[in-house]
Amino acid sequence: MTDLHPETASPVAQGAAPLLRWEGLSVPLPTGADRPYAVQGLTLDLQQNEVLCLVGESGSGKSVTALATMGLLKGEMSHTSGAIRFGGKDLTSLAPEARRHLTGARLSMVFQEPIASLNPFYTAGAQVSETISTHSTRPAPEIRDKVLALFEEVRLPNPEQIYRAYPHELSGGQCQRVMIASALALDPAVLIADEPTTALDVTTQAQILSLMLTLRDNHRTGILFITHDFGVVSEIADRVAVMRYGELVEIGPREQILTDPQHDYTKTLLAAVPKLAPRASRPVSGDPVLRVESLSKTYRSGGVLRRSRREVQAVLDASLQIRPGETLGVVGESGSGKTTLSQCIIRMVEPTEGKVEIAGQDFLALKGKHLRAARRRVQIIFQDPYTSLDARQKIGDAIAEGPVIHGASTRDATRISHDLLEAVGLDPVAADRYPHEFSGGQRQRICIARALALQPDLLIADESVSALDVSVQAQILKLLSEIQAERGFGMLFVTHDLRVASQICDRICVMQQGRIVESGAPDQLFANAQEAYTRALLAAVPGATRVFG
């Protein structure tokens, strides 16, 4: 993505009194947590007309800082110490009613999940109107006009129509624009945006980021922008604050943090940022482990009568093949059909048409026990390592279960599970523990071990690293490459992140509206994309052209 503002952008008046100041803010964690404080002794300024990016990995205390500032913490965590100074007052010592008058009016917030942050029961217009009517006594028609003007400002198409639409009728990007309109309704001095683009596609993310910068310039709003993505930081930040374990590690202007970080932790984080560094495909040989020909999946919905029936082409005429030891990436925006494609291949969803051959066997023709036997050849690793392991099953048993089902003796299966735990970098002694005792990255290692226990010819990784922090993401990608080199399975790697795809794949297919529109080796595809869609995706990658660290 091109730089959205010039290098001298930070128009922060030096020496001016800060708009918002956190003074030694500490937020306690409930007893029994792994550390006593979620945020500890945070001292930080936010200036007017500034985007301050708060960066850190999960559990670093960035969201808690946001919630504390808005007064949204509950239970034990609401007993904060230190001060949050705004407009000459300490927010933390205000009476609830006095604070409520500021919340939403002078300080406002945008959340990570745009669709979930709108109430499904009310129209978009009603929800933005509510922000205004809560804090003022303006007459309804005036409020309505104001809301329509706001929708115009956040560049929503057809404001009138969006006004009457319910959240489920809007896309994620549109919902986020509605949320931003609501947050800006009363021209707040401070806007807190907690990972506002993380749930969105790259192209939508790029639009929202540029919108935020326009708003900063037009309204002189101080924006606290929370993100884990240094690509986003490089696009939007005036200053960057890095947090770890609830403490501030380093703060400075964007260029200094990105190019000349002082703290080791910042350096580690920057080094782990996936770069758009397309590699050449490795030479592969042998018969394909997966051959897909003209695969289509059509969803039909609606009732018994013909005219109410609707059809959605989720996958249309997709063909691809993967050889042993090769990784094929499938990239595209949400709704492009990449997950449906992978689910059709393993018949979690039955394809409508086409042919799937796994290790030379016609996979779609199989039934009953033959199908169950053939399922051994293809295994899958899911996106969310927290929900894809049975919480009541010991991880050793989870790994051994597959081999046992397919006829291995318990002793052999246990041996396999211990070997695999070692192979994915965990202590075999851990076999007797339960999933909740492991971190997200460790769980994803366990899922990989479980998938490999049956020695599959084909491994499907569906967004398998997108729920992980960048440093963990880098480790898991490395592990997958190493194990693949050793065992020689073919891999179908589904991802929305072109940076990740560029690093791990030998070939990449770009999907749009159910079709594979373009494919090729990453270095060729990225340097010489034929399709406008592929070029748009590449251009939208945050921090694409930048070298970090």
């Binding site: 808005m70 949204l72 409520r100 008058h101 500021l102 919340t103 939403g104 009016a105 406002s108 917030m109 959340f111 999940e113 979930a116 942050s117 709108l118 109430n119 499904p120 029961f121 509510e130 922000t131 809560t134 804090h135 319910y166 489920h168 009728e169 949320m179 609501s182 009732g303 018994v304 009568l305 109410s308």
Partner: protein
């Protein structure tokens, strides 16, 4: 339009299955003659009785006649006194409607607000007290509660009548015995539905807009929680029917619950069959009402109607 067509066909089919099943089960499982005429009846009397009620025909023939009549709204006459069954039922139905209505109103007016308050003040003494009462409410069998109340209020303190249905005072105890269980169930479900909604991001977003706490609870949380509460309200109406059988017997309340019990014990097949049909029809209509209110409440389904 299509929705109505599909629903009507499904409702009719359900009722047809119910009518057929009760017919087959009742007519094959026992012979009503002995129960009706007593062990001393002569062969001649038995023969006449069979002829009178068509019991001498084959089962298929009886069934076809029955269905044919039923389609015209004629469910036959009571074996016992020869009156049309619907006349018998119509006499009793208003009493059950009265008792059921009062208990349901009690359950809804007590159970739902209690559940909402328990959720809003989760973990407080208030929440725990409501939950204890609701557990007691649905752990106590209603016949036991009924007998206990008769003992206390009618026999010992003598403030309420123990049986019958001649004044509004008569309805208090049976309605309470029937409604307490339902209020308990409703309170628990409302509480958990509210708790789930309260944990949603949009509730946090409403708070971040500065919306007042009371408005957040009533305008943001409640309508969303209502979607699951309405389902339970429908199920509870079904429970009510089962409950009336017991409670009406305990309090000698002249409703259809008690009619059903006495018709079964005297093997008055025509009455039993018609009652089962009426109850099934009521359940089907309740289900329809739940589905309709669901569609009206939820904007995600409202547009497609």
């Amino acid at each position: 339009m299509e929705f109505w067509l599909a629903r009507t066909v499904r409702m009719a089919f359900t009722l047809f299955v119910v009518v057929t099943l009760t017919f087959v089960v009742l007519r094959t499982s026992y012979d009503p003659v002995v129960a009706m005429l007593g062990p001393d009846a002569t062969n001649r009397e038995i023969e006449l009785f069979r002829e009178r009620w068509n019991l001498d025909k084959s089962l298929i023939e009886q069934y076809l006649t029955y269905i044919g009549n039923a389609l015209r709204g004629d469910f036959g006459n009571s074996f016992r006194d020869g009156r049309p069954v619907f006349e018998v039922i119509a006499e009793r139905f208003p009493y059950t409607l009265w008792l059921g209505g009062v208990s349901y109103l009690f359950a809804v007016l007590i159970g739902i607000p209690a559940g909402i308050l328990a959720a809003l003040y989760r973990g407080s003494i208030f929440d725990r007290a409501i939950m204890v009462v609701s557990v007691v409410g649905f752990a106590l069998p209603n016949f036991f509660l009924g007998i206990l109340m008769i003992l206390l209020f009618a026999l010992i303190w003598q403030v309420l009548p123990s049986s019958g249905a001649s004044s509004w005072e008569h309805v208090i105890m049976p309605a309470f015995a029937l409604g307490l269980t339902l209020a308990g169930i409703l309170a628990r479900f409302t509480r958990s539905a509210m708790l789930e909604v309260l944990s949603k991001t949009y509730m946090l977003a409403a708070q971040a807009k500065g919306v007042r706490p009371a408005r957040r609870a009533l305008f943001h949380a409640l309508p969303n929680a209502a979607l699951s509460v309405v389902t339970i309200m429908g199920l509870i109406l079904g429970n009510l029917v089962a409950g009336t059988v017991v409670v009406e017997t305990v309090f000698a309340w002249p409703g259809i619950g008690r009619l059903l019990v006495s018709a079964i014990s005297s093997k008055d097949l025509a009455v039993v069959q018609a009652l089962v049909f009426v109850i099934a029809a009521a359940m089907v209509l309740i289900n329809l009402a739940v589905d309709l209110s669901y569609r009206m409440l939820d904007p995600r389904t409202r547009r497609s109607t």
